[in-house]
Symmetry: C2
Subunit: 253 residues, 2 copies
DNA sequence: TCTGCGGCCTCACGCTACGTGAGGGTCAAA
DNA sequence: TTTGACCCTCACGTAGCGTGAGGCCGCAGA
């Protein structure tokens, strides 16, 4: 029950060369060798490799990984818990990034320019992740990636005009509902909020109710976004936010 | 309104050397230079830099980034949408990884050994991300990281014994409830399910109701986990799953 | 006006984590 | 016994910077 380099490589999705490298630097040396000098990896070697790959994935330099794995306190459970924690943090940070992207998209559609500081602040940290050709394979075998790329690329100027007009129409409809006294948690306002959400989903990204709520709050919090609604009617921004929240609540229940 | 290398570097959180490098390879050359040869970055240079950093973060090689950014179809909106999509995928994949970790932790606590294939399959793809010292800074300034590391390292053999005993006690209590005919969606079973959830949260990771539901399903789906409950009482596995779901539902409402 | 000091410049070599052959044994099947 | 897949060890190449070395701006203070 031991494995050759090639087998391990296929199993773990790394190259043979990488395994040679790990052997060279002493990060992962196979438990034994055959008489002919062939590397033979045991089960526990695979265990170690899995951890190596995990920490590598999270961007740790190999040297550091060796230190982590060779610490005497390193039980399997200890590692799993640390790994879990690291993953949760990473997900958090990517989630923040998506939120920033969503904000920027909203800003663009409204013709607002964020300050350089704003656009870089979410960045703050981190580093690269994978390689390009691999990347294309991963993301659905290249075909799907290409497809989505083309779909995006096909947004012409004409599309843009329709997009902004459509957005403007929703905004005006909301203003009308507001000035005519329709309550923000009434069906009319909620339907318009829903239309707004779908408008974003159609043109930008899949806007969940949760994300939509966030957008609504942002409109009120950031005067530059408010400046997009206030000219239509004073107090409209809050109205829009409330309608969005009401619509989301309606959907939840 | 233009910026020097140093200013840009601080703003974007990269080194001056990196900016020099991007200039060298033609990925990002400053709009102009002063008479003395000083680089001066314009607003649109910052725009471009932000995109460069984003794609770099996602692991694209610099060469590829240059191609992406120089495509004529590359409007700001196009990029934002692509970026959003890429982020969502990456988050998905990390979420899968956490699920795999959770599964492995459960397996360990029950003394089950997953097959090599299982432990590597979630890996399949991707690559590294950041550097170690930076990493320590990021994750809460090193101190917090150290703290969590120590907290984890402090799990002794004695702790382990208490941990498994505690888990066993919950399992036995569930078996008793089951054999005594208490309904899976009754308060007794639900309370025990909740105890199970908190047991995991205390010792392993923050087990949300959602994750807990996933665990319950896994117990039933994977016979190796079922083998942990079935010996106590036939049909207990399904009972546990149902109790977990009932408890989660109780919390949701 | 000089002088210091921080910031900027251009080489240019070093480093990590492998990629990519070159040249040559090994082993199970045909 | 031969063939083809797999393995071995050099050993040089590459990307994306890090890290000085040596020297030119530019402005505040003496």
């Amino acid at each position: 029950m031991s494995y050759s380099v090639g087998q391990v490589a296929r199993l773990a999705g790394v190259t043979v060369r990488a395994l040679h490298h790990y052997d060279e630097i002493g990060l992962l040396s196979p438990g034994e060798r055959t008489a002919a000098g062939y590397r033979r990896y045991t089960e526990s070697d695979l265990d170690r490799l899995q951890r190596v790959l995990f920490y590598r994935e999270l961007g740790f330099p190999l040297e550091e990984i060796a230190v982590i794995l060779d610490r005497p306190d390193a039980s399997a459970m200890t590692h799993l818990r640390r790994q879990h924690e690291l993953l949760v943090r990473r997900i958090d940070r990517l989630t923040n990034l998506t939120a920033a992207i969503e904000k920027e998209m909203e800003a663009r559609t409204m013709g607002i320019n964020l300050t350089p500081e704003e656009r870089f602040e979410v960045f703050g940290d981190f580093r690269p992740e994978d390689h390009a050709e691999e990347a294309e394979q991963r993301w659905g075998g290249g075909a799907a990636f290409e497809q989505s790329r083309e779909r995006m690329a096909n947004m012409t100027k004409a599309d843009w005009v329709r997009f902004t007009e459509e957005g403007g129409a929703v905004a005006r409809a909301l203003a009308e509902a507001y000035t005519s006294g329709a309550p923000a948690d009434g069906p009319r306002a909620m339907d318009l909020a829903e239309e707004h959400r779908q408008h974003i989903s159609r043109w930008c990204y899949d806007c969940t109710f949760e994300i939509h709520r966030g957008l609504g709050d942002m409109y009120v919090a950031d005067p530059r976004f408010a400046a997009n609604y206030e000219p239509l009617a004073e107090g409209l921004t809050e109205y829009v936010r409330d309608a969005i929240h009401a619509n989301a609540a309606r959907h939840d229940s």
